[in-house]
Symmetry: C2
Subunit: 354 residues, 2 copies
């Protein structure tokens, strides 16, 4: 088992990491009960193992919310607060989020605000959660169809990353998680890029999982509040968030990682137009993205909606469009100013704009 | 003018402190517009002066919400977020809360959560706000009729405390603010107690205002996140919050400070029963409280409701009732365990329990 420390969080990574949870709670939390936040999927696929590991040492109060990014809302945060109040939860109780990024984002926010902060712990169960969402203290809910518009930086007391949960994931969720692994390779670690397997629907090796987590840990360690370098983690996410947000309003389900893959394709193109990366290197990256993620057709989006959502992006200042753009495989710059025309023409290479 | 630094906040105190705001903004905020949060009262009584001080250097976007503790709700926080989104506000914009504790509590929370934190500044306009609410980084809204149930610790970039705003306060609001001044004297500074004037409806001298603020600054400086000593600021507030909460559900308006005065009366009695303070000293304190605050009749509350709300108090752990209790004028202990019977019998000395 590997243990990291990051801005007040203890992070346990390894086979059977979950088994360390009861002892960790015994040493760090006075309460003899735990609140566990799950969605309807992780309630079925992950909660039984969680309960068996906790056996009879803790009273477990389950809070279940619907699955899916569409439910990462303030309304469901309110539901969690009401459940906590029903049980007279106090600051010294602990809320354990057992699920993917939606559950840890929402659970972290709910716990951080409940009575000005109760204890909380993350147990990411998706590949996306393990390599990205659960690490780094970003909590949020979507608001008015804007991704993560309401939230704060707040670190869980501990994070337990146990690959056992990956075994229960559907293939589409595995591919979704690979998007962040690939992003980590492109912004900071060419060795991950070189070791990418052929099959996007298979779990990464434990070694590759660790290297991907290491990228996130290093970047967050250096710049917790995203004043500078942490912005490189936004590569693929400026366009990706806009595409994801537009889909939140439609009936088609588009996962976060799927939107980020389209975002990386487009933002690599922007990097070419801004002379940050060579056209040859960009084509190589884009072809690999298309092959690895099995993309077979153009996305279709509304161009006006896209620009409108970019204007709302948290990363933009004073109506300038600011991007994090790769300069090579394994290197990324941030705060790159990009003009609206460059964005639209880059989008049009991969996406059908109406 | 006096300038303090407290956990990342710059605090300007003095006649004409407000005049320093435009230069401070010029030096610390890139945006050329400011969002100003007011309630229907401060919009009339304080906003004109604010606008005249800002003259034409900044575009001012006004956000107005209803006045009164009953409106310190998540729903009005949502209203503020929607207004910020209407104007595409970004993290580098600034939200200035111009009002009493309700406005700075809600404004601080709204700004801290908007896009994971935009700049914010407090300009307290009430005596309560200047001596207590605006200082120390506590932000919150009430939730399900529980005072400050949802919130976080988050410091404004700066606070401007200008006594000019006290001139516009109604008498009842002045008396309300004196409750916290008196509390500061009882927990930490006997010299304030000795210098209390006769008239609770007159503004304190600037010197007394400064000494009261100094108590708050010192306590918060030593223990920002209320792990220990900061709990002394809760003297009078455990019972006070319960009484205030019960009144939130009724039609009678009871101000925070008014509830805290009743809380101090009862909690001084609890301190006697717990042998923390002599009966003689307690009587002296209680008589002064009754005289100074012109209390003339018993309050009436429901005893079951009282205990029920105490169980929900953020300060309680594992169903023990924890109080901050004075041991002398100018001294206070915290984490004092008190039994339900002691609480009820102390309440009954001053309050008619149904």
């Amino acid at each position: 088992m590997i243990i990291h420390h990051l801005h007040g969080s203890e992070i346990f990574i390894g086979e059977n990491a979950l088994n360390s949870l009861p002892d960790w709670l015994g040493a760090h939390v006075t309460s003899k009960r735990v609140f566990v936040l799950v969605d309807h999927q992780t309630e079925l696929s992950c909660l039984p193992l969680f309960i068996s590991v906790m056996h009879s040492r803790y009273e477990i109060v389950k809070i279940t919310i619907p699955a899916g990014e569409r439910n990462k809302t303030l309304e469901l945060c309110v539901y969690v607060w009401n459940r906590l109040l029903d049980y007279n939860a106090v600051k010294s109780d602990v809320l354990i989020s057992l699920g993917g990024g939606m559950i840890t984002d929402l659970g972290g926010l709910a716990a951080s605000l409940y009575k000005r902060g109760m204890n909380f712990v993350h147990i990411p169960t998706s590949l996306m959660g393990m390599t990205d969402a659960a690490i780094g203290g970003k909590t949020a809910v979507d608001f008015n169809n804007i991704k993560n518009a309401i939230g704060l930086f707040s670190n869980p007391k501990s994070i337990f990353i146990d690959p056992v949960f990956l075994l229960s994931l559907p293939e589409r969720e595995i591919a979704n998680g690979w998007a962040e692994v690939v992003k980590h390779s492109l912004i900071a670690d060419v060795s991950i890029w070189n070791d990418l397997p052929v099959d996007v629907f298979a779990c990464p090796s434990f070694d590759l999982l660790l290297r991907s987590i290491a990228v996130k840990l290093t970047v967050v360690h250096d710049d917790f509040e995203e004043k500078g370098k942490r912005k490189i983690l936004n590569f693929g996410h400026t366009i990706g968030h806009a595409i994801e947000t537009i889909h939140l309003e439609s009936r088609t389900v588009l996962l976060h990682g799927e939107a980020v893959v389209w975002g990386m394709l487009v933002e690599t193109e922007i990097a070419v137009k801004k002379n940050l990366i060579s056209a040859d290197k960009a084509i190589l990256i884009q072809q690999k993205l298309i092959t690895f993620f099995c993309l077979d057709k153009l996305k279709t989006i509304n161009g006006d909606q896209l620009i409108n959502f970019l204007l709302q992006d948290k990363k933009n200042e004073q109506n300038k469009f600011l991007f994090s753009l790769i300069t090579d495989i394994g290197n990324c710059s941030w705060n790159c100013e990009v003009e609206a025309e460059v964005i639209l023409s880059s989008v049009q290479k991969f996406i059908s704009v109406q």
